[in-house]
Symmetry: C2
Subunit: 208 residues, 2 copies
DNA sequence: ATATAATGTGAATATAAATTCATATGAATG
DNA sequence: CATTCATATGAATTTATATTCACATTATAT
């Protein structure tokens, strides 16, 4: 958590610091990101930085928190609170759509998220041992789908939740090529998502 | 590439250096791994290290190369050279089985592979721009499966190859929990793999 | 207006490696 | 045995940055 000093700052300055931090953390890996660069670009003294934050990790935690919150804003809450109206695959589709919307609007946050998600050690450093939130999310969704009889009762929930989590990496790979958003996707994001769902629903075996 | 000096070394010493490097790179992220620790543990002088390698990156590249070669040894070559005898899903199954065998026998190399695969920037630093070898591998496999009519002709190869690649992350997640091999998996690896294949073949939608 | 607290500052210090280099030792050659 | 070449060594240097600190400035309260 940033120190109180940080929250007492004039909004403009606070925003400059956040913006500079997002810039630096999206452009470089955590251990390569430089406080000096952040201070310079936010136009504050290096010493001031330590008035606002405990240390580099403190700032990074804060930025990750902002990122997570921002992402949550993109999820259609009506859909999640009224789950019952939607079936499992509709919910999954909505989740994927939110991911893409979020990525489009917040490329730098997407990059930070990638850097974070792609580095388990960093996750441990920042979040401690409870770093496995994401497959848990899918487990709950799957339990719900099973209860409603929409899913093949044969599936192993623990395994499939990890698999769905792995497919998230694919989605990010698709959206985000070579450090920027893949422009091809933006034109036919629906199509891409629908193909992905088709894969998840039906697999790839030929049927007759 | 290591310098010639390195290959001129007595085998014992060369092995000590490799072993020390594998230890260090499997325990710490690339930018955190220390030449000093490697030199100490291999019982060579720090200066000697630079007789053998250009720099840290040079050593790491070499270790990654060893890892990749070792992994290739685990793939059943008979199966790949006589592809025609096996169907797509049998081949995929074999690939997953090799992954698990490799992981069991070479936990440290698995860890290095994870660190590498989980860090796209590092991949760019080490392999340059052609870092996307792996989804390419699946693309070829998929083309083969389609030609033989084993796969749903509806699927989009480009997309599905990225999806299969994402599922690799899942497999690693399953095998490798908290820095070591998940013992639960070893007892029923076949079962796990078969469930994973079931997911890929049939998806998770309930059918009647 | 003065005192007190809060914030700002950047040069100095600390830390942690990677890398170099002058020099020593050993091996091969003729 | 002397000369040349290859390898070994670790203290000294370099690089890169995070973090501290003594002091300066500005804001708030009395």
């Amino acid at each position: 958590m940033p120190k109180e000093t940080f929250f007492n700052l004039a909004e403009d300055k606070r925003d400059r610091v956040i913006d500079a931090a997002i810039n630096e953390f999206s452009a470089r890996l955590y251990h390569k990101a430089r406080i000096t660069a952040i201070a310079d670009s936010a136009d504050i003294a290096k010493g001031s930085f330590y008035q606002y934050f405990e240390d580099k990790k403190d700032l990074f935690k804060y930025i990750i928190e902002l990122t997570v919150n921002k992402k949550l804003e993109y999820i259609n809450h009506d859909m999640l609170t009224n789950k019952d109206k939607y079936n499992f695959f509709q919910l999954l589709r909505e989740i994927y759509l939110s991911s893409i919307r979020f990525a489009k609007d917040n490329p730098r946050l997407l990059s930070i998220g990638n850097i974070f998600i792609n580095n388990k050690d960093l996750q441990r450093e920042i979040w401690g041992e409870q770093a496995d939130k994401s497959s848990n999310f899918y487990r709950q969704l799957l339990e719900y789908g099973l209860r409603k009889g929409e899913l093949d009762p044969e599936i192993d929930i623990d395994l499939v939740s990890v698999l769905l989590n792995g497919l998230n990496f694919s989605l990010v790979d698709i959206i985000y090529k070579d450090g920027k958003i893949n422009p091809d996707i933006l034109d036919n994001e629906m199509e891409t998502i629908d193909k992905m769902l088709y894969f998840i629903e039906n697999g790839i075996k030929k049927r007759d």
